[in-house]
């Protein structure tokens, strides 16, 4: 059976373009690394402004020593039932602290980041939000970032 019925037939189905991954080689052992969390799950401090549930390209900084009881989620794109019971479901900061206490990782970063992945200006995310978060993480000497929400 021939797969081409008509020569030069083109599909109307739009094929999204996958961006090339940004690859940075690992240069240290885990036990020497300062690790940060970044989540698109809409996690932020209760004292911070909430995210716009319909789409928001802003981000919030979360101090590395903040208790999870001071954090909350505002996100329009997923069932918040579990994360409202336990922020660690999407932002495992307590687990990271435990891993640092045991010496599995070097340390927990002094700052982490939350943003809202449910819609929002993709250009701004790619050209402003993302690079700014990366810049602040580098400034703090963070070696690696664990991301959630995707």
């Amino acid at each position: 059976m021939s797969l081409t019925v008509v020569k030069g037939l083109q599909s109307e189905i739009f094929v999204p373009i996958t961006p090339a991954p940004v690859w940075t080689p690992v240069t240290k052992e885990l036990k020497d690394m300062k690790i940060a969390l970044a989540t698109a799950a809409g996690v932020h401090m209760k004292s911070d402004d909430r995210f716009n549930l319909a789409g928001d390209f802003s981000f919030r900084a979360i101090p590395g020593d903040a208790p999870v009881s001071d954090m909350m989620v505002s996100h329009g794109g997923y069932d918040n039932g579990d994360v409202n019971k336990d922020i660690n479901c999407m932002f495992p900061i307590d687990r990271l602290r435990e891993l640092a206490d045991e010496g599995f990782i070097g340390s927990v970063a002094p700052v982490h980041f939350g943003f809202m992945g449910g819609g929002g200006n993709q250009d701004k995310f790619t050209n402003e939000t993302g690079p700014e978060i990366a810049r602040q993480l580098k400034e703090e000497g963070v070696d690696a970032v664990l991301l959630t929400a995707g």
Binding site: T18, P21, A41, K85, P92, F104, T148, G150
Partner: protein, 68 residues
């Protein structure tokens, strides 16, 4: 990246990803399931240094089914 939706993560070009069997909203494990969250977080970091080329998504054998 701890992925709940590996096809989405693949589409977005994540360099290194792990995928436990979890729903959106509990990427790092079930609520208050410290053991599971700890294992997922630890294994994610282990794979971060082990994955040798971009675009790999490693399935993790941890499952959480949310009760809706």
């Amino acid at each position: 990246m701890i992925a709940a939706l590996p096809p989405v993560v693949r589409q977005n070009g994540s360099p290194r990803a792990v995928a436990p069997l979890v729903p959106m909203g509990a990427n790092a494990g079930g609520p208050n399931n410290i053991e599971q969250q700890y294992a997922i977080t630890k294994e994610s970091l282990e794979w971060m240094v082990k994955i040798s080329s971009a675009g790999k998504i490693v399935p993790l054998n941890h499952e959480y089914i949310a009760k809706i």
